[in-house]
Every structure is written in C-alpha cells, then in structure tokens.
Amino acid sequence: MNFTRIYAMALRYLYLLRRSPMRIVELVYWPFMNLAVWGFITVYLRSNTFGITQAAGLFLGAVVLWEILIRSNLGMTVTFVEEFFSRNLGHLFISPLRPHELLVGCMVTSLVRTIVSLLPAILGLVPLFGYSIFDLGAPLIAFYLILSMFGWAFGMFIMAILIRWGLAAEAFAWAAMFAIMPIAGVYYPIAALPGWLQPVAWALPSSYVFEGMRAIVLEGVVRTDYLWRGLALDGVYLALGIAIFQWTFHIARKRGLLLNAS
C-alpha cells in the first residue's frame, strides 16, 4: 500500500471538485432537498398524529443515516464513473497504481464527498426543524462507520460491474444502492417485513444501524450488540467487495475488457 499514490488519487478528485463549482452545488443540493422534505413531513406528523411519529427526529434521523449510506456509495462509484467519462482509465491502469490503492483512493474521495455533501444539510436541520443528528451521541460514530463501510463495499461490487460492462452499466451505478432501501429498515422496523424477508434484511449491516437508531430514539437504549454485528458484517462485505473487484480486474485483463474501459 503506497500512500503517495492514494493521496494522488484523492488529489485528482479534489482538484476536480475545486474546478467544478456545479459539482459541489449538486453534491449539497440533493441531501438538502431530501432532508427539507422529510423535515416538513415530520412537522406535519407531529401536529396531527400520535404514537411513534411524535418521537422527535425518528424520520429525520433515518433520512440522515440513509444519506450517509447512499453518499458513501455514490462517492465511490461516481468517482469511478468520472474516469470513464474522462477516458483516463488507460493511463491509470498502466501507472504503478495498484487496484487496491485505486479502491482506497476512491474511499478517501467518498469520505470527503460525503462530508461536503451532508454537513450543510445536517447543520441546516438545527435552525430549520430543531433537530440535530448529533443528539444520537457517541453511537453516531459507529453508525457512520458501519454505513460508510457498507456503502464502500457495495461500491466495489458496482465498480466491478462497470469494469465488466462499461458505461452501459452507468444507470445501475447510480441506482443499485436504492435496491436495498425497502429491506434495510430505513423508515420502518425489520419486523414489519414478511417473515421470509427478515433474514435477508438482517444480513445487511445497515439494518443494524436503523434498528439501533430507533432503539435510541424510542427506548433510549444503545444496542451495542447491533453495532458489533453491523461492524462484523461490514468486514465480510468489504472482504467480498475487494475479492470481487480483484477477480473482475483479473478477468478483464484476460478478456481485454480493460481496453474497452480505457
């Protein structure tokens, strides 16, 4: 692992962000809009209904955490898609940059993109809706880690698909992560899913975060067992993501797919 090369990859994307103000606007725009809509829904529910919807920030917390997951994932895959668009992959693949360094470079970029993207929206929730995600306390750090790592692992899988099918799979790169939304327990508990689907949901690290968040908001309990399970599952998914990416890279070298990608 060479940190100068990883820094070079991160620098490449930071230069890109600095040179493209519209990219920064777009990064901030979608999370802000999403959180604003859910903020107003929460205000409406608070004044008209009873029960769990009264719990401050139940939905807003879920939206912020979902955004962390989706931004971490997109930060990884969109970064890679940028290389396709700029027809730069050929230069990268014949440089000393190793595939795992490319992955770490994308992770670092994803981290920066997620912070740039979410911080304004998260801070905006405080004056607008009187909600702070930081009220979740120390477990928020673990939630962030679990969601980011899962987003990255899923991103590696999508990057492998991009190497295999090129820009024909671009739409998939944008939408793939949304496929898990119905079963990840973002807005409702896993128990609300049909019995046969629940084991699938519990196989996702993100499910432990959303259930853990609800446990804090509704019961005031920090479920450390959820945190550990989420982190352990992340380890499995990251290992799988790296293995699938490396395997696809090898297959691509064998079949000449890197030439098409380049």
Binding site: T4, R5, L11, R12, L16, N88, H91, P96, L258
Partner: protein
C-alpha cells in the same frame, strides 16, 4: 533500480492472444534493446493494439510472454510500471484539471522526486509554460499531444510505449514531436516502442520496424534494408505491397 545494460527493454516470446479462439496475435517474438527505437506497423486488425496492450500488462496473453526490463507483464507488471510510460491520442487526461494539476497527480502516482522541478523542466522542453494553468479540455490537439507527452515523460521512463504519437497533428507539430522523442531516446538511453501509420515518421525515427499482418510478424528490419529487400522506393510502398498480399522482392 540498477539495471544490467544487456537486459532488453522489451521482449516478446511466442506472444499469443486468442479472443474466443480467434487469434489476434499469433506467436510473435521480438526484442527491443535499451536505447532502441522500434516501430510497429500493420493495417487495421493486424494485432498492433493487442500486442501493445500485452506489453503494457493491460491484457493477459493466451500463451507466451511479454517482458519489460525482464519483468513478466502478466505476473510481475508492478515491478516494471514505475520505469515505463505510455501515450496515445485515444486515451485522454482528465479534461477538467489544469495541465499542472494533471502532471502533479501523475507525478505522484509515479513517485517522482522533486516533482515541481520536473514539471518546470518538462514545461520548458515541451513549450507548455503558457498553458500550465489552463484546463486540458480547453487546449488544441497539438497542445494536448504535448501535455500527453509531458505526462509520458514525467517519470523519466526507461521504456516509452506510444500509440500513433503524431496522429491528428499538423506536419510542423508532428515533426517537432518526433524531434523531441528522438532526442529523449538519444540523451536518456530510453527505449521507444511505437505503433504508427505514418511511414515518414517510421523512416525518420526508428532503428528497426516490425510489420504485422494477421497477428504475425510478417517481416522486420531497418527501414532502408526493408525498402531494398522489397525493391521499392519508399516504406509506404513496402507497406502497401505487404498489405495487398505481396511477398519479398516484389513477388
């Protein structure tokens, strides 16, 4: 990296690549010595890009070996990649980044020491000072080629692989680029291996050329020797003769 001067810069040994049992490159062997300038000629579909891709380690051979500075590019390419570089008009640099930013990124990827000084040196050599702060996408074709060359020379490579180095350039710029490359090979002792469709370029630059046809090396030798061997007036005539199915000595 201390290097034995007798180690070939590039070497293909029985290099073969089949795509779904269709042979794209069929058992070719050649050697490019350190300091040598060798061109690869051939019509469309002759196997040039496949050969170059295997030499760069982008493509795994079906059989045989592609070696760079004695490293097998199928299994040990990361030992060779820091000492080689590549340029092609068909592979771009990120257009949103400025010339300096691109060179800084690639300089770091190649672990170049004293990077700012190296960028200044290349900017002077390739007349890039006026465009260093401009985005690559705003540059003309000639300027982009010079930037691509700066990227290809950023690590002072011992092996330079080029795909049509002067494609889409006007004759004056093309001539200037050929001068820069020949001078780099002469002063640095680096080997240059390039694919080209420009026969004048090949005649002017290379010590030896390989003519590919249907995945095989049809013939090889110094440009003048091949012209004489085939009894033709120019390399272009030799190329056309071979491409149209002729044999040696005009048969």
């Amino acid at each position: 990296m201390p290097l034995d001067a007798t180690v070939p810069a590039l070497q293909a040994r029985g290099l073969t690549k089949h795509f779904d049992s269709v042979p794209a490159v069929n058992g070719i062997s050649f050697t490019v010595p350190q300091g040598g300038i060798v061109a690869l000629l051939g019509g469309n579909g002759a196997g040039k890009t496949t050969t170059i891709s295997m030499l760069l380690g982008l493509l795994l051979p079906t059989s045989g070996e592609a070696r760079v500075l004695d490293h097998d590019m199928a299994t040990d390419r990361f030992s060779a990649l820091p000492f080689m570089n590549f340029s092609s008009p068909y592979v771009d640099l990120p257009g949103e980044l400025t010339v300096t930013e691109n060179l800084k990124v690639y300089g770091r990827l190649y672990g170049v020491a004293a990077l700012s000084a190296r960028i200044e040196e290349l900017a002077a050599l390739l007349q890039l000072n006026e465009v260093l702060k401009r985005r690559v996408r705003e540059l003309s074709a000639g300027q982009k080629t010079r930037v691509a060359l700066a990227k290809a020379l950023i690590n002072s490579p011992r092996v330079l692989v080029l795909d049509e180095p002067t494609a889409s350039l006007d004759p004056d710029t093309g001539d200037w680029v050929r001068g820069v490359l020949s001078n780099y090979a002469r002063t640095s002792g680096a080997a240059i291996f390039f694919a080209s469709h420009n026969m004048l370029e090949v005649e002017r630059m290379c010590d030896e050329l390989l003519i590919m046809k249907a995945g095989k090396i049809h013939d090889q030798g110094a440009p003048k020797d091949l012209i004489q061997k085939y009894g033709r007036d120019s390399l272009e005539d030799v190329f056309l003769h071979i491409a149209r199915g002729g044999d040696e000595a005009g048969q």
